[in-house]
């Protein structure tokens, strides 16, 4: 609900929090001082972070507005299906443990900054690298827009003028990241975590007390929302598996991993990052608490305003300010990382590909400027486009990025995969996935699949990935058989 008057106390707390992160972000430029004209320093913080800093940084890249706003909103609006985020993140770290440390090693040895750098070098294929670059940029943009949207909801909750506050927030972020790069995202991630942990711990204790205990609060939630309807089992699992496989294909999550100083740091973080998943689960429970507290969907933001409205309703104004500030800053950290990652793709895999003589210093300059374009482009998009577009494009982005799995993950694990096979798979996966999205009206990431009379809802990304993998495997097999025939022909001639 948009209130006419500005809630002064909350606004002062949020402004104070933004002042703190601006100071921290500007200090980051001098922290562990290095030449920030070097892309490794600007975009990867010098590839030197140990376990603790990488934990904060990766936490900042994985847990975004999607976790803090969209998942509790799904629980609030649709019920148990929103908890797919838990199995999703279980699978994410198992997959990450298998693939990302190896990718770190290869990146460390050869100086890769983006997933497309790896693909370009590993497959020696410009077209496959272009496909991965294009998918990475296209999939990251709506993800940045979702972060902007999350901040907008927090600002609107306390009656701040949306346009002015969003431009201010992103102007600050743009200056900080332009100057200090990933170092600023890392230090702000630490501040953000202190705020968000305080908010969540206080909320899971205070909110149920306020509502008469968990038992009483849950009794107010319609029983149908507490369990998963049987027909959504397939949707639940495919959402979890598809999203779990996709997360570390996004360029910004790889940025977080590559900023660490060793592959063992990456492995250890797969052990300790689930601590955040527990926090996410607690936040998702707040979606139920919002129902119990009698929160209504907002006229303007629908279910997405559920948790901000809950914090604002049950807490004293100053602490509501802390909670809303933590959600807003929780969106700024990933937004900065996504902008850096998308900008790196542009600088290294588009610009440098077209102008091979670009000096490393110039590359960094291009990347810095591109990161500004990404941020302001996202703000402009969110303010101009209908809000449903933001959420729908993000769903589509999840389907598309998953189609780079053969090129990136299979490329890491299986050395003999030919580029043409991965490219054929990508083409089919993107084509089929997009067809299914359009067929579903482009406002849902699920569609009905079935054999005969048995039908089930599935997350579109997974059938598209299956088609992709079948084509990739098929083409790889054919090329291999043809290769053997050629060898035999050579041997007999």
């Amino acid at each position: 609900m948009i209130l006419a008057a500005i809630q002064t106390t909350q606004a002062i707390v949020i402004a104070g929090a933004f002042a703190v992160i601006t100071a921290v972000g500007l200090y980051a430029g001098r922290w562990r001082k290095a030449d920030l004209h070097d892309l490794d320093e600007w975009a990867l913080g010098g590839r030197q972070f140990g376990g603790v800093l990488t934990w904060f940084l990766q936490g900042g890249s994985v847990y975004t507005t999607y976790s803090f706003v969209a998942v509790p909103a799904l629980v609030f609006g649709a019920g148990a299906i929103g908890f797919f985020a838990l199995p999703y993140l279980v699978i994410t770290y198992l997959v990450a443990f298998l693939v990302v440390p190896r990718l770190w090693q290869l990146a460390h040895a050869s100086g890769y900054v983006t997933p497309a750098d790896f693909v370009r070098d590993r497959f020696k294929s410009r077209s496959l690298a272009a496909a991965v670059t294009l998918t990475g940029i296209v999939a990251t943009m709506p993800y940045v827009a979702l972060q902007v949207y999350g901040i907008e909801i927090c600002m609107a909750q306390i009656g701040l003028p949306v346009q002015a506050s969003l431009w201010t927030a992103f102007a600050l972020l743009a200056i900080i990241t332009y100057l200090a790069g990933l170092r600023s995202a890392t230090l702000i991630a630490v501040v953000k975590d202190v705020l968000i942990w305080v908010t969540v711990v206080v909320a899971v204790i205070y909110v149920p007390l306020h509502l008469g205990g968990y038992g009483h609060a849950f009794s107010k939630v319609p029983a149908s929302k507490l369990v998963l309807p049987g027909k959504l089992d397939g949707d639940y699992v495919t959402l979890a598996v598809g999203s779990g496989l996709a997360l570390f294909l996004y360029p910004h999550t790889l940025t977080g991993a590559l900023a660490s100083k060793s592959r063992f740091v990456v492995q250890r973080n797969c052990i300790f990052l689930p601590v955040y998943t527990v926090m996410l689960g607690l936040l998702a429970i707040l979606g139920y608490m919002a129902i119990a507290a009698g929160i209504h969907p907002s006229a303007h933001y629908g279910n997405n305003a559920a948790v901000p409205a809950l914090l604002d309703k049950v807490f004293p104004p100053w602490f509501a300010g802390v909670g809303l500030a933590s959600i807003a800053i929780g969106a700024l950290v990933p937004a900065a990382m996504m902008a850096i990652a998308a900008a790196n793709l542009f600088a290294r895999n588009v610009w440098r590909e077209l102008r091979p003589n670009t000096s490393p210093r110039r590359q960094t300059q291009v990347s810095k400027l591109a990161s500004l374009v990404v941020k302001f482009g996202a703000v402009g998009f969110v303010l101009a486009a209908p809000t449903t577009y933001v959420v729908n494009f993000q769903l589509a982005a999840g389907v598309w990025i998953l189609q780079t799995l053969p090129a990136v993950f299979v490329g890491v694990l299986w050395r003999k995969l030919p580029a043409r096979a991965a490219l054929a798979g990508w083409t089919v996966g993107i084509g089929y996935g997009t067809y299914l999205l359009v067929h579903a009206g482009f406002d849902s990431s699920s569609a009905s699949f079935g054999i005969g009379s048995h039908h089930t809802e599935l997350f579109i990304g997974v059938p598209a990935l299956v088609a992709n993998l079948l084509v990739t495997g098929g083409v790889a097999l054919v090329l291999r058989l043809r290769g053997k025939e050629t060898l035999q022909a050579l041997a007999t001639s």
Binding site: L86, V90, L94, F97, L226, D233, G281
Partner: protein, 76 residues
């Protein structure tokens, strides 16, 4: 940390990776845990069971990490 590719060493105790089947098996079939009771402190089974699997997944990953070799035991 080292620059060595460590291809041979990264094969160390490869079987340990099969332990990852356990957390996946625990969540891959929702009818297994799709119910409200027993609740814990009012929280439905569906929720707290999955929170437990999240922690279990982290523990399994930790065990696999130790079995496959840490920074001190593997130089590659």
């Amino acid at each position: 940390m080292g620059q060595v590719e460590g291809e041979a060493r990264s094969q160390r105790r490869r079987w340990a990776l099969w332990l990852f089947v356990l957390p996946v098996a625990a969540i891959v079939y929702p009818p297994l845990y799709d119910r409200v009771h027993p609740t814990v402190g009012g929280v439905p089974f569906f929720v707290w069971y999955q929170l437990c699997v999240v922690v279990f997944g982290g523990i399994v990953t930790g065990v696999v990490y130790l079995l496959r070799g840490t920074e001190r035991t593997v130089t590659g």
